[in-house]
Subunit: 673 residues, 2 copies
């Protein structure tokens, strides 16, 4: 690469881009860790994007109508941190740059959206950013349709690497964006032909231009170090009716001894090579030193959008007060005041009518109440709409011809759905929910984990939640998936037993502002067990006494979801034999764990025999070895699954695997001795 030619062709541009490269090298040498090559390779592209195109106001990084910039290749985090620092982001100071990857720094190894405003999403696990971006772009379209172009009108720009494009989820994202004609989505592909193991072509020879085109994208190929070409491509992209992918041919670790090699991908920490690279750049400044004129030039870029933001503020003020309040409320993830009253009314009604519904159907009935009063909900399903019961009649289908549609046919793309849901929520103004079979939590899992890490209150509607789905067999029968979601930090797992608990679970999920929820719902019909209306949301306590023992309490049955019915049947049988039996419904273990000890002890007092009932793995893990195999407070047993399911009608499977009232009664009596 002829650096002299680059330097002289456009010295102003070169100096700005070099500031990024120099900061990257300095920060990674200081941290002795990080990924140098990507920021050095993509500095030119990012500089032109920020200087000439990106609509933003650096000191107001949460301005709702800003363009979104997503660093899908999150390992190149120093690119983002450099840009934020240089343009004047209030939180990413020079001190933060110097503390790159250190304890407590906002400049974490990979970008983490919750550490500083201006970091739009959390990336690092590859393919996530580009898939989030589809959600950002959908959110923009829906909000534009809802609030008008004067208030919502912005682009979503993504920098993605070869790793992002190799991950399968990128295909789901590309297919969706093409079909949905998300014309305001622009992907800048860092086409450097290098991965950790070698050149890309040791593992892939996909013609990415052809691949994107096959899914309906507008594609442009440029030299990623030519500012004029970058600018021209971005102008073209913004005028396109399709999403645009700009293939930017770049040199990883440009100008460094490790340029164009796998070594250049990682941490370049050699001090001599750093100095040589700076020399080659013509950058005669010390570590972390950015000359005042260069910093000023970058800050001018950072304040370029200030006037536009002020004008936007004025236009926003022209919206009706109701619209302004709605917009602001949705951005804050605040549920509308009407919600709890509406949920209560539904609870009262079903307590009286006592329908025998599958909880997936109960969930649909709740959504019929919720969707009309929460215009920010956007629902969808990974091609199981009729099975997940996620669509209500008032939600139109989101398509190019109907941008007001609030229901998305995600296709057979659980992972892409979950990642795009993350993006919609991060964009702001949208509260997404999406459905698939609970077993396919597996497919969506990488994005569900990130929802938890990013503190996004998405709702994952997971139906067909046990062997109760019957004939489809073990490939479709979750047994470990409750344990998986429960093991994930900051995730609330609800397994409601009837329509009342389903309504309560939804109310909680829609009230959370910083945590995702998983709703575990049945395929099979269940009776209404909460037949006495209570205003209070009992599910909010996680577990509660559903039925008390008559006489001396000898047994406590603890159950969730479809197995609460079995617990109630077992209780009837035990009580008939004079054995006082309490039933505890525990729709959410995480919330129960959050209750104070006094409440937990009231619900689960020491003494009586305990039997847990759940058509899933007990998944004891550590506690079995720490607490002892038999339990201190009570003799305890578990009625559930010990392995994979089987293909047969549901009732027969419950018999086969011994998840029945009779087995529960027998276990309780065995423990009573």
């Amino acid at each position: 690469m002829d650096l002299i030619a680059l330097r002289t062709a456009n010295p102003d541009h070169w100096t700005k881009a070099t500031a990024i490269r120099a900061l990257t090298l300095d920060a990674i040498v200081a941290a002795n860790s990080g990924h140098s090559g990507m920021p050095m390779g993509m500095a030119d592209v990012a500089t032109v994007l920020f200087e000439k195109h990106l609509k933003f106001d650096a000191t107001n990084p949460t301005w709702p109508d800003r363009d979104r910039f997503i660093l899908s290749a999150g390992h190149g985090s120093m690119l983002l941190y450099s840009l934020l620092y240089l343009t004047g982001n209030p939180e990413i100071t020079l001190e933060e740059i110097k503390n790159f990857r250190q304890m407590g720094a906002k400049t974490a190894g990979h970008p983490e959206n919750f550490l500083a405003k201006g970091i739009e999403t959390t990336t690092g696990p590859l393919g996530q950013g580009i898939s989030n971006a589809v959600g950002f772009a959908i959110a923009e379209e829906i909000q534009r349709a809802q609030y008008g172009k004067k208030v919502v009108d912005h682009y979503t720009y993504v920098i993605a690497g070869d790793g992002c494009l190799m991950e399968g989820v990128s295909q789901e994202a590309i297919g969706l964006a093409g079909r949905l004609e998300l014309s305001k989505l622009v992907v800048l592909w860092d086409n450097n032909n290098i991965t950790i193991d070698g050149t890309v072509d040791i593992a892939d020879r996909t013609d990415q231009v052809r691949r994107f085109a096959a899914s309906g994208w507008h594609v442009i190929e440029i030299d990623g170090h030519d500012p004029a070409a970058i600018d021209a491509a971005l102008i073209q992209a913004k005028g396109s009716k399709k999403p645009t992918m700009i293939a930017c041919k770049t040199h990883i670790a440009l100008g460094h001894a490790a340029q164009d090699t796998s070594k250049g991908h990682g941490a370049l920490t050699d001090q001599g090579q750093l100095l040589a690279a700076k020399e080659a750049y013509g950058w005669a400044h010390g570590p972390f030193e950015v000359p005042a004129d260069v910093k000023s030039a970058w800050e001018a870029i950072g304040s370029r959008g200030a006037a536009e933001r002020a004008a936007w503020q004025a236009r926003f003020a022209e919206l009706s007060e109701r619209k302004q309040a709605e917009f602001t409320r949705a951005y804050a993830f605040e549920a509308p005041k009407k919600l709890s009253g509406a949920i209560r009314a539904l609870k009262k009604q079903v307590s009286e009518e006592q329908p025998k519904w599958a909880t997936r159907k109960s969930s649909e009935e709740v959504l019929k109440v919720v969707n009309p009063i929460m215009t920010e909900t956007v629902g969808g399903s990974a091609d199981l709409t009729g099975s997940n019961n996620t669509k209500t009649a008032d939600l139109g289908i989101f398509l190019p011809e109907n941008r007001k549609g609030r229901y998305i046919h995600w296709g057979i793309r659980e992972h892409g759905m979950a990642a795009a849901m993350n993006g919609m929520a991060l964009h702001g103004g949208i509260r997404p929910y999406g459905g698939t079979f609970m077993c396919f939590t597996d497919y969506a899992r990488p994005a569900m984990r990130l929802a938890a890490l990013m503190k996004i209150p998405s709702v994952f509607v997971m139906t067909h939640d046990s062997i109760g789905l019957g004939e489809d067999g073990p490939t479709h029968q979750p047994v470990e998936h409750l344990a998986i979601s429960r093991a994930t930090p900051n995730t609330y797992v609800f397994r409601p037993a009837d329509t009342v608990e389903t309504a309560e679970a939804w109310e909680l999920a829609l009230t959370f502002q910083q945590s995702p929820s998983v709703l575990s719902l049945t395929r099979q019909n269940l009776p209404t067990l909460r037949t006495e209306h209570k205003t209070k949301n009992l599910t909010a306590q996680g577990g509660y006494v559903l039925a008390e023992a008559t006489g001396k309490r000898q047994v406590i049955l603890i159950a969730t979801g479809s197995e609460v019915e079995i617990a109630m049947q077992a209780r009837a049988a035990l009580e008939a034999e004079g054995i006082g039996t309490r039933v505890v419904s525990m729709p959410c273990m995480e919330l129960f764990a959050e209750q104070d000890e006094a409440y937990r002890k009231r619900v689960l007092p020491a003494g009586p025999v305990r039997v847990g009932i759940e058509a899933a793995m007990r998944a004891g893990g550590w506690d079995r070895w720490l607490l002892g195999e038999r339990g201190r407070e009570a003799k305890a047993g578990f009625i559930g699954m010990t392995g994979f399911g089987a293909s047969a009608p549901a009732e027969e499977l419950y018999e086969k695997f011994g998840i029945t009232a009779a087995a529960t009664v027998a276990k309780a009596k065995e423990l009573l001795g």
Copy 2:
């Protein structure tokens, strides 16, 4: 669709294909569940494939050199069961067809490889079959290179639907197959433009032909109901130097009232419509009735390969005895006799030399011993070779120009890797292992679950297994992934504490014949703790006493992996204060749970305070509520993670999250009171 024209154009073909359609309709009506449309749409393609191309011998379904037929669109299982029954598979009898989806039937809702020979893989979760198939095709290439074309020379055929192609993992498979030039892989795409939610184009308009071509595939487009076109395409495919995708334009639920509709995808159970369809087919036979001449014609197809198989047997007998034994041993997943001696020698050496290695490095040292004596191992990494330490010098890279290569650069494709590993193992003759960061278990998870369900002894080498990876931060730090793998049935999770335990874990993993293993390995260096050589594999017991208390045993510290070192430090501190402390190393909870109760009680006797130490979530789940929060056998505490990690140097993170010897000592003393 003009059925009359189809019937008359090629009546022999029509009758054979109609037998599949009729059986499908009958079975699904009887079961009142299933998926009718796909078998009815793809019956013509399958008939031509089986009649004219597939090399198989129906009564010897495990003949190693048979062509493999993979039904990636597994919901269409009646297509496969019909073909197996009609051609004379010994296990899929008419009785089994009549018992479709019933308890104990081999004809489960989705094909399950472990229920009957002739079912090559377990499908249903979409995208898996086509990704398994890449592994099948790789295995064929490697075995052909190892044993010669006379013994190994067969094709892998896949039927995939729109759902398979929309799942992201299919892109990983397509990219791999294209790059690796797997010319003996043929995908037949059921291009029917229908999914559950509607026509495909509500969610996707990808030009699949262009997409496959972009990744280096040979692509052919045909009418999937024209036998001559199907035949011609298959002939072309077999002559191609690239993998081939045949786009078969078909009508879902051909000839039924639900043809070409979403309804046609599912269970068509209307008796009147069934009769009307049979009428339209010209099929005047009762339920499950296949006229003798039609059955004979199909059985002739089934025995077409008998002579070829016999000739193969003769050629196989010409291999050297050593080669024959090796081939047979590898197919049976039997470890070579030399293995345990070699592992013992390594254990002895490291017990003496006491290296301070990260367990990922320990794993590499074990592989250096294993790979030369197990020619069936095929290793790889999802673009983290240098970090996962999965490559040994003797393994060449598997590429078109080196089919003897036993190391695969999978690219940034964790899911595709795991699914292809499943395929390699299912093909037979290969014992695959593959690496990525443990956190990215998330990406590979759908295929890892299927490995467990399918009873495949793959080894997943998961490095960087805790906050010990340091600066990369919480996106890369597993905290719940041990719990996830431990919750999965039939999966052994090993978290070795040093090189000796790593060698023992590998020995066990390589000896399993029906279970996958997950190796949880550190990035950071660890001391050798097993400094006294024992011939016996102590890890085989799951947990064992690593260090005994001197004097009265007051505390038991239970730890895994990198935290065993902390336990040993804490023990030293406690013992110095006169508090007798036992350390239990528990590298595999599943194996410990399998020991008899007497052994478990010996290792964990009631009485002493217990403290668990693991840099991961405690993930108690049910046991906390059943066993009581404080434990019966002992007062118990846990030193570990309670949420996501952070980005900082590893040692600082251990301090920050309180996973230290000092915290362990404090916890033990607190519990002692």
